[in-house]
């Protein structure tokens, strides 16, 4: 029996915005490419001729492949759901996590837009609670309108009534 993130058990589970897919792939792949640098420099200096490439090429391919798979999973295996009581987020392919933050525990919410995100109409939502690990739950890849809607829906009730008079 598994905690299946790929076939969510209810229709209210949403995927992230498809426009976020390439951004997530690229941002995940980049750190995976770092080992390629030493894997190129070391064999080429230590081994005679171009034999070093026999080490470099497989390493580079493995890094790229792993990065692409992880980046793909990052979008493909993330689901969110807005409930009456709060916000639920499922993510992870190998290490799976489902977190539930009740609206009554939300301290405040942030929406971040990087330049690349702005160009594609995307936003990152940050949910702050008073907790230790969950003091800032961050999830990228929402459409701007969705993020705003989530923010408005998650503002705690007693604070929503405050009028700005």
């Amino acid at each position: 029996m598994t905690l299946d993130a790929q076939t969510p058990d209810s229709p209210e589970w949403h995927r992230l915005d498809p426009a976020a897919r390439p951004l997530m792939r690229i941002s995940t792949v980049l750190p995976f490419l770092i080992p390629i640098v030493p894997a190129t420099v070391l064999p080429l200096t230590l081994m005679p001729g171009w034999w070093g490439l026999s080490v470099t090429l497989p390493v580079a391919l493995a890094c790229l492949g792993l990065g692409l798979v992880v980046g793909h999973n990052r979008w493909w295996c993330t689901f969110w759901r807005l409930e009456d009581g709060g916000f639920r987020l499922r993510k992870g392919r190998w290490w799976r996590t489902e977190v539930f933050v009740p609206r009554s525990r939300v301290q405040h919410l942030d929406i971040h837009n990087g330049p690349l995100e702005r160009a594609r109409g995307l936003a990152t939502l940050v949910i702050h609670t008073a907790g230790t690990q969950s003091h800032a739950l961050k999830q990228a890849g929402f459409r701007q309108e969705t993020a705003t809607r989530l923010r408005d829906a998650l503002i705690p009730e007693h604070r929503r009534d405050d009028s700005a008079l």
Binding site: W95, P102, T129, A130, Q133
Partner: protein
């Protein structure tokens, strides 16, 4: 009470200065950082320019301390305290009594000699105490504390009455007092001595790097000189002498632990009233503080192997507020009971949590195969040093594999003692075998609830439920139920989520 009225009352009372000796403590506080190098300089006649710069800085600090004393004024109103401070940049701080969560009194030997106390006014919000009054005369400090508390009872009658009903023993119940026998036990079962000696040696060697070399040289020299005598003793006496040295070191460390226990916890007194737990302790440095009930978060109960020999526990609790602050300013983790038997522990927990929540009636077991998870990881990891040893010592290296039966036994025992409980609005986890820990919290204090599954969990059909609470210390065990059967974990996750979503 209207605002206008309270303002009038505030204006009516005169502005006050701190205790006339305040400048001395202000100065002492600055000097504290230089005092160790200065003493070192004084007694050894050594040191470099660095220490002299410290001395020079101290000279500048004296007039500053005086100026700070003359510029600090406070006024106590009917429902608020107004503090004016600052020499060039003047600050007026207005703190309503209702917002003050804790008035703590800190008294070092110097404070006690002069009959004064450093008073800290803590409000829940910021990451620093709102007002620090260094120093007030003891009567004034006591009066201020009473005033803040009486204001509190007036302002929040409903909360007070409900909380009062929760306690049976009246407004001020003593929960734990430690006499010398308990302190002796505390010292004997704690390992503080070892920590203190290690820290002291580290500091000494850090301060004077020649010292470490000199000590080692002397020890090596002694061995060199007496080497022939030692070998003449024969192996049996050799071992005996070694054991004696170890025994002496052990006794010395325990003695240090006992002394530390007396210094730190002398006159330990924990009381509860309708708003807060009040705690006083310390032989030389006296601490008197209060922890409002509303700030109490998750609890940690521990019992080491030694503590179990004398049937004692220690109890700590996380407190909200004071995020990312050193415990010196605003205690984020309160040691409510450094040593107490099961009855006293139950009394303390009972005074705060809903009735019947603690002790837990029925612990539920983990997944039947939980022991395998505890066994496999260290067992596999141990194969690496074994391989290295085999390469190095050939077949003798295989002796390391003898630890596997022990690991197997240990993980079986671990799983037998592990468990969790979710009942009466309390989520509780217990783990450990040689040293046991219990971690629990009211479910309404949970901020977010996680359901986690690693690939290893998935192979065994297990999952982890983790409850996030406020200010959970990195040294405390997590409030997490590991190795649960997946269906049970999902049900627990759903139940807690439903409970906190209300």
């Amino acid at each position: 009470m209207t605002t206008a009225h309270s303002e009038a009352a505030t204006a009516a009372t005169p502005e006050q200065r701190l205790h006339p000796l305040s400048w001395l403590f202000e100065l002492f506080n600055v000097l504290k950082q230089f005092i160790v190098p200065l003493l070192f300089l004084l007694f050894t006649g050594r040191g470099d320019r660095y220490e002299f710069w410290g001395l020079l800085a101290a000279g500048v600090m004296v007039p500053l301390a005086l100026a700070r004393y003359y510029s600090f004024r406070y006024r106590i109103g009917a429902d608020r305290i107004v503090i004016r401070s600052g020499l060039l940049q003047r600050t007026v701080r207005d703190i309503a009594f209702t917002r003050i969560q804790n008035v703590s009194l800190h008294r070092s030997p110097l404070h006690r000699l002069m009959g004064v106390a450093e008073v800290r006014l803590e409000t829940g919000g910021g990451d620093k105490e709102e007002g620090r009054m260094r120093v007030l005369g003891l009567p004034e400090a006591e009066r201020l504390r009473q005033l803040v508390r009486s204001g509190e009872t007036e302002m929040r009658p409903t909360e007070a009455s409900t909380a009062e009903a929760a306690i049976d023993g009246g407004p001020d119940t003593p929960l734990l007092q430690l006499d010398w026998r308990e302190l002796l036990k505390l010292g004997l079962v704690s390992n503080k001595g070892m920590v203190l000696v290690a820290a002291g040696l580290g500091a000494a060697f850090q301060f004077d790097q020649g010292l470490a070399r000199a000590t080692l040289n002397r020890a090596a020299g002694w061995l060199w000189d007496h080497g022939s005598e030692l070998t003449a003793l024969g192996p049996v006496r050799y071992v005996l002498a070694g054991l004696l040295v170890l025994l002496a070191a052990f006794v010395a460390l325990r003695l240090i632990s006992v002394v530390q226990a007396f210094l730190h916890y002398h006159g330990f007194n924990l009381r509860a009233d309708r708003h807060r737990l009040s705690l006083a302790r310390g032989l030389l440095n006296r601490f008197e503080g209060a922890l409002p009930r509303t700030r109490i978060q998750a609890w940690t109960l521990r019992q080491s192997w030694l503590q179990r020999r004398v049937a004692r526990f220690d109890l700590r609790v996380d407190a909200a507020g004071g995020k990312n602050v050193k415990s010196e300013n605003m205690e984020a983790h309160w040691q409510l009971a450094p040593i107490a038997d099961a009855g006293h522990i139950a009394g303390i927990v009972d005074a705060v949590l809903p009735a019947g929540a603690w002790p837990v009636q029925r612990w539920r077991p983990l997944h039947a195969n939980a022991w395998q998870r505890e066994f496999k990881a260290p067992a596999l990891f141990l194969l690496i040093p074994t391989a290295i040893l085999v390469y190095w010592l050939q077949a003798w290296g295989l002796l390391l594999l003898l630890s596997h039966p022990w690991l197997w036994f240990q993980s079986k025992q671990w799983a037998k003692h592990a468990g969790y409980s979710y009942a009466n609005g309390l989520i509780a986890v217990r783990e450990g075998w040689i040293g046991k820990t219990w971690r629990f919290a009211e479910v309404r204090k949970v901020q977010a609830v996680y359901l986690k599954q690693s690939p290893f969990d998935r192979r065994h059909g297990m999952a982890t439920v983790f409850c996030d609470t406020v200010n959970a210390g990195s040294l405390e065990p997590p409030l997490a139920v590991r190795y649960l059967p997946l269906a049970e974990a999902q049900a627990l996750h759903a139940a807690i989520a439903a409970a906190i979503a209300e």
